[in-house]
Amino acid sequence: MLRQIEGSRAVAETVAACRPAVVCAYPISPQTHIVEALDEIVRLGELGTCQFVNVESEFSAMSVAIGASATGARVYTATASQGLLFMVEPLYNASGLGLPIVMTVANRAIGAPINIWNDHSDSMSQRDSGWIQLYAQDNQTASDLHILAFRIAEEVSLPVMVCMDGFVLTHAVERIDLPEQSEVDQFLPPYTPRQLLDPSDPMSIGAMVGPEAFTEVRYLGHAKQVQALELIPDLAEDFVKLFGRRAGGEHDLDGLVTSYQVDDAEIILVALGSVIGTIKDVVDEMRELGTKVGVLGITSFRPFPLDSVRTSVMHAKKVIVVERAFAPGIGGIVSSNVRTALRDTSIKISTAVAGLGGRPVTIKSIRGVVVQAIDDTLPELTFVDLDVELINRELERNRQQRRSGPMAENLLRDVGSR
């Protein structure tokens, strides 16, 4: 059913169509509209006996999800940014216990300095948490990936994060083809747990495991991710048959990656999330001028589709990974994964860190990076649109005075005075 609808509302209604039994929520921008909508849906009785639990922290949100999932309920929650960090301990617990919780991460920067705007620092920080991570490029995929997420989670008994860019997607109103209940019911059978807290068949869950089996339990967490890597392409095909569109978006290749003008491209940009839309515009523009450029989107960041990435970009001369987060002290996060995929090749790989804390990633910015790549002047690591003068002035203040004050405030004062 076509609707003109806010991304958050579309996700909420899609999640509702997945018939969760327990939804727990703690407010944090820019995720709030999703759980606000779900509260309304639950209160109106549209989800039967579904329980909506207002918790007192994200730590408890994930803990409630753990308890409910282990009791056989299909569980959903949503968070972002600091909230995701506040639930890190139960986050690892949920994946370690193998509980198929689905959670939306409305991607937002992490402080300090506090910043409510979009980048991928939050979910990228949890790339090793054992959760499956899917990244949405637009609101249609954000909505559809949730249906896929519940199915993947319950098939392999792992929790799944659906990452959608905060504000850029969550608060954007677009035309969305919302799924029919009957279609979702067909795609997503009722949840049958592998482990259950049930007095008629008592079991202990969460026992202490020492060196004798810890490696094996951890390995199984990896094996399930690998299993998901094989499963996602099949489920993506099932999804097309039922819904008539690809869950990963128009240019979805195999459920794991999306491919736009990649086949004959000499320069391939690799990215995740909504920035891919802008990059496609750059690709169209530069193709008209004769530059063979394309963009590979990564939908499934965990598990990381090494083969799909390698196969897709093997023929390229240069790869530019556009990242919305980075690892201080080394550089690109996604880049290091792409490098693993392209090991033993002579492809030149560069990292372009862009759009931190909500800074717009413009066509001009991306075009500039591609032009640098063509000219062989693109460094291995570059921060797009970085105000070097501003940084140099702060570094100079640091040199001149020991008590130079808080750096964020210094930069703001500097920006404001010019």
Partner: protein
């Protein structure tokens, strides 16, 4: 307790007192008890927590006809009961983290409600560290939402699992490995403390009670009463720890009794924020009688002891006695007070 008999007439608080009505026998004395925390676990000799957990969970199992799920915080109870691949638990049991037992239990209760299985009940349990310190926020949230969970705190007054460090429930003057018995003010500080039963009461929840492993009938009656109610309930059980308290393993029950008889651990019940029942002290003792057998208080005694600290602790006990009206001279055996 409804029985008019005073058990100490046979000289003990024995579990299987033959002189009382069969109906008044404890759950523990019944051969049909669920034995929820069964033998073979790795608790220390004389562990008060193992005893308290078995008493409480068996009583809860009896009260719910075995339809019970337990959520466990990280701590001694979790570690000694489930060394992989063994478990001592004979009921559905989950351990998640140190500070989230109450929230996990909320999730279990929410799922059961969504599934229409309201006959299955939920208990969350943890030590004092997991309850009054690291798990305090989620527990307060569980109280505030009035989630249908009985939370049981087994209070041994320090972080024993990590090797005896001070918690928010460690009593003033007590020696732990982060409140050493050295310096001008040896042992844990004389702060205002964190009385979780009173804090729980301030949430106005349906039921709050304290108990000790020294009074099995009282403990079982409170669990039974709690399981007869819905909403958030809190039971705080004092469980002496021979390792952390430096006490003899055969004196666990005795110390728990002395804790109440000295007035340092008031035993009471409260409903919706109001105290409804207080366990009167029959034989009041001075705090020294309770403190002296415990090595964690050894620095208070002797030639180089701290009589001023003993006086301060006695003042706390006296204040409790007055505040909770623990002393009823008509019911008293002898007046040591």
């Amino acid at each position: 307790m409804s029985t008019p008999l005073k058990f100490y007439q046979v000289g003990s608080f024995a579990v299987g007192n033959r002189l009382i009505d069969e109906a008044d026998l404890s759950v523990q004395s019944s051969t049909s008890r669920s034995n929820s925390l069964t033998s073979g676990h790795r608790a220390c000799q004389g562990c008060g927590e193992a005893l308290g957990a078995r008493y409480a969970i068996d009583a809860a199992m009896a009260a719910t006809d075995g339809k019970l799920v337990a959520v466990n915080a990280t701590g001694c109870l979790e570690v000694f009961s489930t060394p992989y691949p063994e478990t001592s638990w004979r009921l559905p049991w989950i351990h998640s983290l140190f500070g989230n037992a109450s929230a996990v239990a909320t999730g279990v209760a929410a799922a059961l409600k969504a599934q229409g299985k309201s006959d299955i009940r939920v208990v969350a349990q943890g030590g004092d560290g997991g309850t009054v310190d690291i798990g305090f926020g989620p527990l307060s949230g569980m109280f505030e939402r009035n989630d249908d969970v009985l939370y049981i705190c087994y209070d041994n007054e320090a972080y024993m699992n990590t090797g005896v460090q001070r918690s928010g429930a460690t009593p003033p003057g007590a020696r732990t490995n982060t409140s050493h018995a050295v310096g001008e003010h040896p042992g844990a500080s004389f702060t205002q403390g964190k009385n979780l039963p009173l804090i729980a009461m301030a949430h106005g929840i349906p039921y709050v009670a304290t108990a000790t492993v020294a009074d099995l009938h009282d403990l079982e009656a409170k669990v039974k009463k709690a399981m007869g109610m819905r909403g958030a309930r809190y039971l705080h059980i004092l469980v002496p720890c021979p390792l952390g308290w430096g006490s003899r393993s055969e004196e666990t029950i005795k110390l728990a009794r002395l804790a109440t008889e000295s007035g340092l651990f008031p035993v009471f019940e409260a409903e919706y924020g109001e105290i409804t029942e207080t366990k009167k002290i029959r034989r009041r003792v001075r705090v020294e009688e309770y403190l002296k057998p415990q090595k964690r208080f050894a620095h208070l005694f002797g030639a180089n002891g701290h009589s001023e600290m003993l006086s301060a602790i006695q003042a706390i006990a006296d204040k409790n006695v007055a505040k909770f009206n623990l002393w009823d001279s008509e019911e008293a055996d002898t007046n040591h007070g």
